[in-house]
Symmetry: C2
Subunit: 344 residues, 2 copies
């Protein structure tokens, strides 16, 4: 498939469609291969497989919904230190950990999200709790944490999230920033070319997000996304992951989408909802819509990243504009698990 | 026009289109008429007129852009205690003031937003500063305030925002909540009928947002929105106003939109971007798209509110599903100002 891509994007896009999928996950856009050891690749592959298995098990239970599937899968990825969400999240430039997550139910478009939270062990569960037990959709910061504590969700010390790998990544980021040294830190402008290089998924700057899309036996869709954000982000910065319509969207009539990538661009291009809108209003297929959004104006402006999408017929697609591809996998109705790293 | 509405929505929608508009503002969905004194109506009318004049003046300056127009207009509405944004904002149930705002440039889809800020005098200016002087789009809470302070924006004590009118509104809200008393406070679920009644724009619960859309001489669009949120919201709750694609969207190829209403629904329906998507992908007119989104599935689910929209040809529209209408106004190229309260 990678070879076809060189000659014909539209053929490639259609090839990418997989059928009979009940759950799919992503673990963020891929790091430069040179930066990833075989041991770490194994951890990534195991982590994705494990999340798919847990999500699939959740979907098999009596009365289970697509929400149960995406929540279970994303929780596993949050708990897995190999991924930039929950434990293993990147650091802000101030050295804190600030997490964002969201979830959406394709049946009735209920949604929940939390942003900039520092003590909630599983932000995706907090997002679901906001959706199901509050009249709000989005809670941020201390208010989100108070809500989570009131709801008896698991709360941990911020150290729980911290890993030596991400601490090193922040150190390298700050060193690179010092070297570039031509302007005050954090004041690069939107859309500047330096910016996509600096924070892109290629190179040694970890930059990912985890997410899942699922379809239950009743044909209802759900999507969920969770992240530590962008390595070296300023404290208080929120990307696309908790933004319904940008990083996450689900609607039975169109598709469920979870995104990862340069969040600022994904917010400005309303990526997840734009894919759904092209399906609904322009009659595009899921894979065509996903590829057009990922490879359209946003890519020209320097915005790189990826999406996974699933529709109510069980058709799954992934699209990415990052050099190395996307860590991802899916499970079909019969329980068959497939995991892919890079452009496979 | 109000009479036509009773007979034919589609005709009415087209009637609502106004041409040659360079700037339009809204001051939130209208309160129940019985709750508004003639004196307060006068303040609302004056405030909208004043904002339109200031925005128009900003647009007349040499080299001015649509961003200058929307920022100037929204700043005036933020400074005006008659509106629920900046000074005069509603209180959270905890008695704090937490402000949200966003801005978007239709030329290149740059965007900026702040959420849950408590000391920034003009959140819309903070949003523009995030857009122009950071590489991020959205900052929340303390991080947003630190950024604003670093950028030397006007910072005020939270008391500056507080008005007796809104303090009374919170008191009434909490009393009503106590009376209803059938469940723990703040735990109403999404989509429950009680909810839209409790926090709807009709009745004495203030619930609004301010916003502006503009078109400059080069034909570029911009949109901005600012709010104190929903009266009696829980601390940390963020609505649609700072969410690009929900409360605010601008793109020269389609339209500029600023929304107001029940923010949770506007996030779930990605209202502002959905209007743009219908124009781009379904070939709808601006007014048709705005009316279809406001009067579609969202309204059936109980989500009420309003939008103003402007396209690059200078066509303006407003659509609302609230009982009493929308406080709004516009100014045409020749400087003619029109202000409307309720269903006029």
């Amino acid at each position: 498939m990678g070879v076809l891509f060189l000659f014909d994007v539209s053929v490639f896009a259609e090839e990418r469609l997989v059928k009979d999928v009940v759950l799919a996950v992503h673990g963020g856009t891929a790091y430069a291969r040179a930066d990833v050891t075989p041991e770490f690749e194994k951890l990534l592959r195991q982590g994705l497989e494990h999340a798919l298995r847990k999500g699939y098990e959740a979907l098999q239970k009596e009365g289970a919904t697509s929400l149960d599937g995406v929540e279970a899968a994303v929780r596993e990825l949050e708990d897995d230190p190999a991924f930039n969400a929950g434990r293993g999240a990147v650091f802000t430039r101030e050295g804190t950990i600030e997490l964002d997550a969201s979830i959406m139910d394709g049946k009735d478009k209920r949604a929940g999200a939390v942003a900039s939270v520092t003590t909630i062990r599983n932000p995706v569960t907090a997002a679901r709790t906001v959706m199901e037990r509050s009249r709000h959709v989005l809670f941020v910061g201390a208010g989100a944490e108070k809500f989570a504590a009131d709801q008896k969700l698991d709360v941990v010390d911020s150290e729980y999230f911290q890993t030596p790998r991400q601490r090193d990544a922040l150190k390298r980021y700050l060193e690179r920033e010092l070297q570039s040294g031509d302007r005050p830190a954090g004041l690069e402008k939107q859309g500047e070319k330096t910016e996509s290089k600096k924070s892109g998924s290629t190179g040694s700057s970890p930059h990912g997000t985890v997410g899942a899309v699922a379809r239950d036996r009743a044909g209802n869709l759900a999507a969920a996304t969770s992240t530590g954000g962008m390595n070296g982000k300023r404290s208080g910065r929120v990307g696309d992951s908790p933004v319904i319509g940008a990083g996450t969207y689900a609607e039975n009539a169109s598709c469920a989408v979870s995104a990862t990538g340069h969040g600022e661009f994904f917010i400005r291009w309303t990526v997840a909802h734009d894919i759904a809108a092209r399906i609904k209003y322009a009659g595009q297929s899921l894979s065509q819509a996903a590829n057009d959004v990922i490879h359209g104006d946003m890519e020209k402006a320097g915005g790189r990243g990826a999406v996974i999408g699933l529709n109510s017929r069980g058709e799954f697609t992934a699209a990415w504009s990052t050099k190395e591809g996307l860590y991802r996998g899916y499970v079909t109705r019969d329980g068959q698990i497939s995991v892919m790293l890079y452009e496979e």
